[in-house]
């Protein structure tokens, strides 16, 4: 059986263009899309951003969105990118799965009306599409993709890359033949201010890998690709653009927001991707770096690149000076940029680079007329969620004889649940003090304490110190932290906000903390879906897919969620449902038999 993953369509919208042709044009002309904000109303006029050059109204009109239909910017951008990808690929959306990466979800809409939503019902409908999982459903609904055919990945800035990895694993294990995978993220005051509290935003255009770099610029956009099995491509006579020949997902397990000095997670992710593609480092023709322009990322990524490539360093560039850092969407936006580079035969410039940083890599200046056979694309996120993809020219594999691989889709996979914990609002809280000191727990909200206690006790019961993978899900994520941050921002304005609250507001906070705690550098992912059973099923399916491929023997699987008094009240008013206030934390350790 041919296990090749073909890419048969791609769509993109970002600050440098509303489609592939415009994007390519901007990259070749070295025209950045970073500048003053026009659509997002922020007090931070000093912070340049990579904004999509269309208002919500213009996007709605372009997509023919019915008037009165609630939709957030993240979904609007995503829909446009999916539309382009489907058009190029020619597949029918009803037959496909949609795996989308986002962290902002509907926050851009919620933050405009949050104080009103707390008080009255005028804008309460926004709650239904606030969470990341529901944002994916908005996109699926537009195309008639069945509800059960969606999954949302939220690993902060590597979300879209991990969406591609999940999609590819679904195809490899026979769960799907066609997957639309990528990510979407709109700018929001929430994360603009959040990154600002971390003091990692540059007031000038970002300069990745430059000695004078001062930080990143945020961007927004969406990109999706159509991943397809070889059987499906052949059956329908599809036209492959490229092959997703390798990918790696690893965890830095170092710090919630900072990368380790030696770039361990990044190194392991790149190594896994290369090994899977069956390539030696010297065969990579171009690396699209994560390259955010922060002091920390660029020095850590340089260290990791040097460890992988040594003397064989290929041309490396970051395209974030063009698009800004599109956070959850960056993995797919940059994958599509790599596809364009491969098709057109050019290396995008590392715009604005002038000064060699000590111990840093020397980025590429940009080149045309070059053949790119294999490209690597890096995406690293908060929580140490590091992923790397390798895409290869389709021609090189299509004519190659099928490599006989044992089909991992067939046969019974026997697993055993070694331990299981479930804490609910009614049950006694787990005792985190058994595992952590007061200094270590000082930043943890109730949800984190319960989730950590449930997980660490499940591991202890299973007599496991370091699981092969950490696979968790949530519905509303770190609600206490994000609600506090949002409330303060809406009431007091865009100043004096807490970096700790923002740092621990991303959905992958708990998976990242667990990895640090257990020193687990293995596969690490966070899914979101409004429904607990559904998201747990996705997590278990993910563990099973990795076990079938022989990538892991065991996994810590979990679900955590929190209902605050404010959410309880809004759910009651919107749906008439009385959900208990409090924390739910599920943790189970699964082992392959």
């Amino acid at each position: 059986m041919d296990n090749t993953i073909f890419i048969t369509g791609a769509g993109i919208i970002s600050a440098i263009g509303n489609n592939k042709a415009e994007t390519k044009q901007s990259l070749l002309a070295k025209e950045s899309g970073i500048g003053e904000l026009h659509h997002l109303q922020s007090a931070h006029r000093e912070l340049p951003c990579g904004e999509v050059k269309m208002s919500n109204e213009e996007l709605r009109e372009m997509l023919g969105m019915p008037e009165g239909k609630a939709c957030n910017r993240t979904a609007l951008l995503g829909i446009e990118a999916i539309r382009q990808a489907l058009e190029q690929s020619g597949i029918a959306p009803e037959e496909a799965f949609l795996v989308s990466g986002t962290t902002v979800g509907g926050m851009d809409a919620t933050e405009r009306h949050f104080l009103e939503m707390l008080e009255d019902d005028r804008h309460l409908a926004l709650l239904a599409s606030h969470d990341s999982g529901s944002t994916t459903k908005l996109m699926a609904e537009y195309f008639g993709i069945p509800n059960g055919h969606t999954a949302t990945v939220s690993t902060a800035c590597s979300s879209a890359a991990n969406a591609l990895i999940v999609g590819a694993n679904m195809i490899k294990t026979g769960k799907a033949e066609k997957v639309i995978a990528g990510g979407s993220e709109s700018l929001s005051l929430f994360h603009l201010n959040g990154f600002n509290t971390l003091m990692v935003l540059d007031t000038e255009r970002c300069r990745p890998f430059d000695a004078t770099r001062k930080g990143l610029n945020l961007g927004e956009g969406a990109s999706f690709v159509v991943l397809e099995s070889a059987a499906s491509v052949m059956r329908r006579g599809g036209k492959p653009l490229a092959i997703l020949s390798g990918y790696g997902n690893r965890c830095d397990a170092f710090h919630q927001t900072a990368s380790s000095p030696d770039g361990e997670g990044a190194y392991l992710a790149m190594k896994e991707a290369l090994d899977m593609a069956g390539l030696s480092p010297g065969q990579i023709d171009y690396v699209n770096a994560h390259g955010t322009g922060t002091l920390n990322n660029d020095s850590s990524e340089s260290a990791a690149l040097k460890r992988i490539f040594g003397q064989d360093m290929p041309p490396v560039s970051s395209t974030k000076p063009f698009t800004g850092h599109t956070t959850s969407a960056s993995g797919s936006i940059e994958t599509t940029i790599c596809l364009l580079a491969m098709q057109e035969g050019f290396i995008p410039a590392n715009l604005g680079w002038q000064n060699q940083m000590p111990d840093g890599i020397t980025p590429a200046a940009g080149r045309t007329g070059i053949r790119l056979k294999h490209i690597m694309c890096n995406s690293f996120g908060f929580g140490g969620n590091d992923s790397s993809l390798v895409i290869s020219q389709a021609g090189s594999h299509i004519d190659a004889p099928d490599i006989p691989e044992p089909s991992c889709a067939e046969g019974v996979l026997r697993t055993k649940v070694l331990s299981r914990n479930r804490l609910t609002p009614d049950s006694p809280k787990g005792d985190i003090r058994k595992y952590m000191t007061p200094l270590e727990t000082r930043r943890l909200c109730d949800l984190q304490k319960s989730a950590m206690a449930a997980s660490l006790s499940a591991l202890q019961e299973a007599r496991m110190e370091n699981p092969d993978a950490i696979i968790v899900g949530t519905s509303y994520g770190m609600l206490e932290n994000s609600e506090k941050f949002l409330l303060q921002m809406c009431k007091e304005g865009e100043q004096g906000l807490s970096p700790t609250l923002f740092m621990q507001s991303t959905h992958n906070t708990i998976a990242g903390s667990l990895a640090i705690r257990t020193h687990c550098h293995g596969y690490n992912i966070t899914y979101t879906d409004p429904d607990e059973e559904r998201v747990l099923a996705l997590c278990r399916q993910d563990a099973e897919m990795l076990m079938r491929q022989g990538k892991i023997r065991n996994a810590l699987v979990g679900y955590y969620n929190e209902v605050t008094p404010a959410l309880h009240d809004m759910i009651l008013r919107l749906y008439g449902k009385d959900v208990p206030v409090g924390v739910t934390a599920v943790a189970e350790v699964i082992e392959k038999q």
Partner: protein, 85 residues
């Protein structure tokens, strides 16, 4: 200065959520970071917010914090010299 130091200690305990600690537990010249109180880079960012909120001092470069937040003494000295409120 003594009054300011005491106030800073209380604010630090509150902002950084240092449960089980009282102002008397923090020595005026003991290092706040690393081996002393054990604070880290995220705490430093919180202290920068504290300076802005309570004393009207705005730091634009996080690396400036290193010298200022060495101990309660250095922090109080900096606040006394630069406060705008």
């Amino acid at each position: 200065m003594e009054e300011l130091e005491k106030q800073l200690k209380q604010q630090i305990i509150e902002v950084l959520n240092l449960e089980d600690m009282s102002p008397e537990d923090i020595e005026g010249d003991a290092p706040l970071f690393g081996d002393g109180l054990g604070l880290d880079s995220i705490d430093a960012l919180e202290l920068i917010v504290l300076l802005e909120k309570h004393y009207g001092i705005k730091l634009s470069d996080p690396s400036e914090g290193k010298a200022i937040f060495k101990s309660i003494h250095t922090m109080a000295g900096y606040v006394a010299a630069h406060r705008t409120k």
